[in-house]
């Protein structure tokens, strides 16, 4: 039964290969039904297999750990790496999210992308992405994890730039790739450092080695900080968050899959997976928490000022992952994974219903041209409203349970009132404001300029995933995964009632503020005050990086346009060519000239002989 798990990442890979290989066998493009059967089917079966293994193996025995050794990957001196999978409850939760939510998004995509000329290419990329993500979470050593990590990065590049004919999309794809590369480089260095210290990259061995030996704490601190660098890049946290809002250039289901539900959570997974190492270093823990707290506030305020429906969601993703980092930083491991799970549900729901809105409005994304849509697309409205409620963590939605756990833990971690908790609470208020603002601007109030030609674009394959995700988002709070086997039993006493009260009240206050804000903004339109403009630009990070890094680099490149180093080699070549033309002009074919030079040479030679 456990062996079935090996098929989970393999099936999407087979799907990808089939979809890619089709042109080798058939000259004409296969029908959309056929592509859907392969693309959606492969992930669907993976989800089914995961569910079977989860219920039969893991549900009965929460402490179960399945190791699957497929083959040896490389053996260099004392570095032995296997293509091996290590599945415990943490991995299983990720597997269920990736295959489950992934399957729903695939299904929705079949409806959303219908009539796209590159339907096959789309599903090929999507399958490859799922495969890479599955390898990432199932890997039992960090190099295999890194393989999945890079695969995910590659697929995100391909999918963000899916509509490559628009140069802006290509630029967004490159930005995502390059910015995450910075983090990946840090992570690679971290891996080298870990191997240098522990002579192994196998995760369980690494953890036991770090636990038992009095390992060099400085090296562990540096290594964990470098791994955090990788996580920060992939999870779009401060200071590498700039790629994610631009990554909305891809098709909307891609945003749901990559930039909400799965890929950006890879960083959270990495830190949760390596948590025993982080626990050894207080500096690293604090860094994780501070990065999370800063990011969640920064992205939250940015989300308030956005006018593109997808960019609001993009910033909300960054902000929610900030919450997860905060949770990791204060040691609420299972809280972070729980929030990761509920976030996957409601953010996929939000993105997919946003996709429905966009499709219904014929690819209009500006929320200021929308309004009053609840009458025209009620089903999408209900889904989006549920998603917003979960995102804002209104009581009894899934987001409430997971976020509450994080906030309480942040309170308790530093014995009461502290800046991390304050950031979380303020973030909860901001989340309430931005999520309900977009809801009200799009669906409530008077109709905007593009609302009038709204036509419900949902078909059955799009409604079904939306309905399932809405149910999961509402009731996912009851599905807290039993992660004690991975993280140990974590108990903490409940703080004072008012602390909990504040956590409940904040989203509601946010809702009220959002109502006022959206009323006012619907009147004033897209005009922004200076502070809003600042938030709109994402706190000027793009401007900063453009001027601090990109521009000097471009200037340097322009300066070096003729390649200064190359001129040495070019100079050598030119010199010998000059010499050659000089000598070859003496070879003029005139025998009498040769004779004269010969005679002159002889005379010179004789004269030399005489003189000496």
């Amino acid at each position: 039964m456990q062996g079935l798990l090996a098929w989970v990442p393999l099936l999407p890979l087979i799907g990808f290969l089939l979809l890619v290989a089709i042109p080798l066998f058939y000259s004409k493009e296969p029908s959309e039904k056929f592509v859907t059967a392969i693309g959606v089917g492969s992930v669907g079966i993976s989800a089914l297999l995961t569910a079977i293994v989860a219920t039969t193996v893991f549900w009965q025995n929460p402490g179960e750990v399945v190791n699957i050794a497929l083959w040896q990957w490389m053996l260099v001196d004392n570095l032995e790496l296997g293509f091996n999978f290590h599945v415990d409850w943490l991995t299983l939760v990720m597997l269920m999210i990736i295959t489950g939510v992934g399957f729903l998004i695939h299904l929705y995509s079949a409806g959303y992308m219908r009539e796209d000329p590159d339907f096959r290419r789309y599903f090929a990329y999507l399958n490859l992405f799922v495969c890479a993500m599955l390898i990432l979470v199932m890997a039992d050593n960090l190099v295999l994890l890194y393989l999945g990590w890079e695969g995910v990065g590659l697929c995100s590049y391909l999918l963000i730039g899916f509509w490559y004919k628009n140069p802006a999309n290509g630029a967004a794809a490159q930005k995502a790739f390059i910015v995450t590369r910075i983090g990946d480089t840090a992570m690679a260095i971290g891996l080298f450092l870990l191997f240098f210290e522990f002579s192994t990259l196998n995760i369980p061995q690494l953890i036991s080695a770090a636990d038992s030996s009095g390992a060099n704490s400085q090296i562990i601190t540096v290594a964990t900080l470098l791994l955090l660098g990788g996580a920060v890049g992939k999870s779009a946290q401060l200071p590498l968050q700039t790629w994610l809002p631009d990554a909305m250039a891809g098709p909307t289901p891609v945003s749901a899959l990559i930039h909400a539900a799965t890929m950006v959570t890879a960083g959270v997974y990495l830190i949760a997976r390596m948590h025993p190492l982080y626990m050894l270093s207080e500096t690293a823990m604090t860094a994780v928490a501070v990065v999370g707290a800063l990011t969640l506030l920064l992205a939250g305020f940015s989300a308030i000022a956005q006018s593109d429906i997808k960019r609001v969601l993009a910033y909300s993703t960054i902000s929610q992952i900030g919450y997860m980092f905060l949770a990791l930083g204060v040691g609420a491991w299972s809280g972070a994974i729980f929030h990761l799970m509920t976030h996957a549900f409601f953010k996929a729901l939000l993105f997919l219903s946003a996709g429905s809105v966009i499709l219904s409005l014929h690819h209009e994304q500006n929320i200021f041209t929308m309004g009053g849509l609840y009458r025209r697309i009620p089903f999408t409205f209900i889904c989006f409203a549920i998603g917003c409620a979960c995102l804002a963590a209104l009581p009894f939605t899934s987001g409430f349970y997971s976020k509450d756990q994080i906030l309480l833990r942040a309170w308790e971690f530093h014995d009461g009132f502290n800046s991390l908790w304050l950031a979380g609470i303020l973030g909860a208020l901001v989340t309430g404001i931005y999520s309900f603002r977009v809801l009200f601007l799009v669906f409530a109030g008077s109709e905007g300029s593009s609302s009038s030609h709204c036509k419900d674009a949902n078909n059955t394959v799009m409604r079904v995933p939306l309905a399932i995700l809405a149910t999961l988002a509402l009731f996912g709070g009851m599905l807290a995964p039993p992660l004690q086997s991975v993280f140990g039993t974590q108990t903490w006493e409940h703080p004072a009632a008012w602390v909990e009260g504040v956590a409940i009240a904040m989203p509601l206050i946010g809702l009220v503020i959002a109502w006022g804000l959206s009323r006012q903004q619907q009147k004033t339109g897209e005009k922004r005050s200076p502070i809003m403009q600042f938030w709109f630009s994402g706190w000027g990070f793009d401007w900063l990086y453009e001027n601090l890094l990109a521009k000097p680099f471009r200037n340097l490149a322009r300066l070096n346009h003729k390649d200064i180093i190359d001129s040495i080699y070019k100079g050598t070549a030119a010199f010998s060519q000059q010499l050659n033309s000089l000598l070859s002009s003496s070879q003029n074919g005139q025998i009498r000239w040769y004779l004269a030079t010969f005679a002159a040479g002889s005379i010179l030679f004789l004269a030399l002989l005489v003189a000496l």
């Binding site: 000598l583 070859s584 002009s585 003496s586 070879q587 003029n588 074919g589 005139q590 025998i591 009498r592 004779l595 004269a596 005679a599």
Partner: protein, 105 residues
């Protein structure tokens, strides 16, 4: 063992040198390939004369032996060279050496 210096040595060397220089100058200045051949002959004969003069000076027969060799060589050289001249004339319909300049850099 050298004999005492023969009175004709300096005159002989001078003559040979003048002859050689004449031949060389003619070789460089003439464009007609037949005249160039004749200049070569003058050069070889200057060298042969030098052998004879030197042989006479040291009272050694080797100089005369070398003279016979030089004459033989000159005969062989003329035989080959005339054949080449003939071929050249057949191909180019000229005896101007400057027309033979195709092999150049």
């Amino acid at each position: 063992m050298p004999f005492e210096t023969a009175p004709g040595l300096e005159a002989g060397v001078l003559l040979a040198s003048i002859l050689f220089c004449l031949g060389l100058a003619g070789l460089m200045m003439r464009r007609n390939i037949i005249f160039m051949l004749m200049c070569v002959e003058i050069c070889t004969n200057a060298a042969a004369l030098m052998f004879v003069v030197a042989g006479a000076h040291w009272g050694n027969a080797d100089g005369q032996v070398m003279f016979v060799f030089v004459v033989t060589l000159a005969a062989a050289e003329v035989a080959i060279a005339l054949a080449l001249v003939l071929q050249f004339y057949h191909r180019k319909h000229t005896v101007d050496i400057d027309q033979l300049n195709e092999l150049r850099g």
